[in-house]
């Protein structure tokens, strides 16, 4: 009974990917071939079609460890498949933008997942997004919920530009709060306390924004129940992020050049500076 209740609560809490996919495209999206948890919709974004991809929960997913919005085996490979279809279609003309609608609670933790190579499934998704970006597709990640750990590496972190809704539900971290607390032998509140002192350890999107990795924090939008003005506003940010991505290089260097990155990622910048000096002997 309790387990069921808590699962339902989590399921509704992680339905934000589906909510925003629907809001932005006016479609529920097609289920990607080979997964009951990856929804894909192609819709106009500004003046051109864009492909939107979201991972959604499915309480009946055939892999029990990936029923609450986790990225598991089918999710990773299906995302890779969908993204590579967009790349294959884009051989001529303007490369179609891809929007990752991100609400992913974690990678799937399971024995079967490890045996069958979940690391490769997630790598395949990351590879596909990175390959799309390198081929000239503007890849935009829109964080509407959790962007956790390996799941975010697979679905979103290879984007040219990362945008996030300003909401307490939007979180980025290397490990879910409960798991991180258990692994580091701290309580959740100790962990939250550390996050207030050290921005890289925080979960909330405001702290994340100080790291310089985010292109835009979208404020003033109701992320749970967006009205048409909210949706229009988010679309405009996506359109301008697409233009910005097209105007810039295809690598991730922009994440080191923002004013925020100059402060919080100063060490990342300094390592690269000195490395350039020492790279060639002499």
């Amino acid at each position: 009974m309790n387990a069921q209740t808590s699962m339902n609560a989590q399921t509704s809490a992680s339905g934000r990917g589906a909510l925003w996919l629907q809001a932005l495209t006016g479609q529920t999206g097609m289920l990607a071939e080979g997964a009951t948890t990856v929804r894909v919709a192609t819709a106009l974004l500004g003046l051109e079609p864009a492909t939107f991809i979201a991972v959604v929960p499915d309480p009946h997913n055939r892999f029990p460890r990936a029923r609450q919005g986790e990225v598991g085996l089918d999710e990773g490979w299906s995302i890779a498949d969908q993204v590579r279809r967009v790349i294959a279609e884009g051989d001529s003309g303007l490369r179609r933008p891809i929007v990752c609608v991100v609400d992913v609670t974690s990678q799937a933790y399971g024995r079967r997942e490890e045996l069958l190579g979940i690391h490769l499934a997630c790598a395949a998704a990351a590879d596909a997004y990175a390959s799309a970006r390198l081929a000239g597709h503007p890849v935009i990640a829109l964080l509407v919920g959790k962007a956790m750990s390996g799941a975010f590496l697979a679905h979103g972190y290879q984007a040219n530009r990362i945008l996030a809704l300003d909401s307490p539900e939007v979180m980025v971290h290397a490990m879910g709060k409960q798991a991180a607390a258990r692994v580091t032998r701290r309580t959740v509140s100790e962990l939250e306390q550390l996050g207030t002192r050290f921005a890289p350890m925080a979960y909330d999107i405001h702290a994340y924004a100080t790291l310089g990795l985010l292109h835009q924090l979208i404020q003033g939008v109701n992320s749970d129940a967006p009205d048409s003005a909210d949706v229009q506003r988010v679309r405009e940010f996506l359109v301008s992020a697409v233009a910005d991505a097209r105007a810039g290089p295809r690598d991730l260097g922009v994440r080191l050049s923002s004013p925020a990155a100059q402060r919080l990622r100063a060490a990342s910048i300094e390592v690269r500076r000195r490395l350039r000096e020492q790279w060639d002997a002499g």
């Binding site: 045996l115 690391h119 390996g150 890289p200 350890m201 990342s268 390592v271 490395l275």
Partner: protein
């Protein structure tokens, strides 16, 4: 065993027992090792001391330029003995930065052969989001670099390769493992903790290795070469991987193959390492 075999066994230099710096040196052509951002640069983690943890002067990653059979190379070796080989801001930036410079040189027609020695538990939780961001940059650089030269990964043990860095291993064009290696996204302890001991008993080492150990990974095609713990043999295998050139299709791009393999799996049925070998074992990966 012949007398010659016996002598070879006795003279064999263990690769696993070497620290990261010695591993890089053992791989590169004799006398060609040149460390970049060595300990005297004192590029330490800015975050660990704030949390009362002593920061090591190289942040647990050794970068070395040198040659492999005379060709320019770069080795990034993770020191598993320091903070579990975890990726912090500086250690992650060292690897990403080295791969980015190798890419620049490749694009300018001066190929650099990249080798990753992966001994890592993944993100360093004390630097959480900056470690995760650096790992995304490592993935990006590997995918970009692979269009020019193979990226060769080695998981020797004993730490293994986990978390976001297991994706980096999966992105490598050629992956070399030993029997002592483990390669998985989630460490056994984390799975036991998150999914319960019924899902995974992390203390059952034999079972863990049967699931994610180097021998199993190579047998089912998730790694390319299984080697003894022998520094010379590993150095030779790295050179051989570069001589093979780029794979016909990178493993992480083999979408149709793996989707059809997975479609044939029924998650309701029990499956163990031996069962998977029967299904995936005989087919070559590349």
């Amino acid at each position: 065993m012949t007398a010659a075999d016996g002598r070879r066994l006795l003279s064999r230099q263990s690769f696993i027992e070497l620290r990261a710096r010695e591993r890089a040196r053992a791989l590169l052509d004799d006398g060609s090792f040149r460390e970049l951002l060595g300990p005297f640069e004192r590029l330490k983690s800015p975050w660990l001391p704030l949390q009362d943890i002593v920061a090591q002067a190289d942040d647990g990653v050794v970068l070395a330029r040198g040659t492999l059979d005379g060709r320019p190379a770069v080795v990034a070796a993770i020191e598993g003995a320091y903070q579990g080989g975890s990726m912090g801001e500086v250690s992650g930036a060292k690897i990403a930065g080295a791969l980015e410079l190798a890419l620049r040189d490749c694009e300018q027609g001066r190929p650099v052969l990249p080798v990753l020695l992966l001994e890592t538990g993944g993100v360093r939780l004390q630097e959480a989001n900056l470690g995760l961001a650096a790992i995304a940059e490592i993935h990006s650089a590997i995918v970009a670099l692979r269009r020019h030269v193979p990226v060769v990964g080695v998981v020797a043990g004993m730490v293994g390769c986990f978390g976001g860095m297991s994706l980096a291993a999966a992105l490598c064009s050629w992956l070399i493992v030993t029997r002592q290696a483990r390669l998985g996204m989630n460490g056994p302890e984390v799975i036991e903790q998150e999914a319960g001991i019924g899902e995974m008993d992390a203390s059952d080492r034999a079972q863990v290795w049967k699931l994610i150990g180097g021998e199993q990974r190579q047998a089912v095609g998730l790694a390319d070469e299984l080697l003894e713990d022998d520094a010379d043999a590993i150095a030779a295998a790295v050179r051989a991987a570069f001589s093979r050139g780029l794979p016909a299709q990178e493993r992480s791009a083999q979408v149709q193959r793996y989707r059809s393999r997975l479609a044939a799996i029924d998650p309701q049925q029990p499956l163990d390492g031996a069962g998977l070998r029967e299904r995936w074992g005989s087919v070559s990966t590349q």
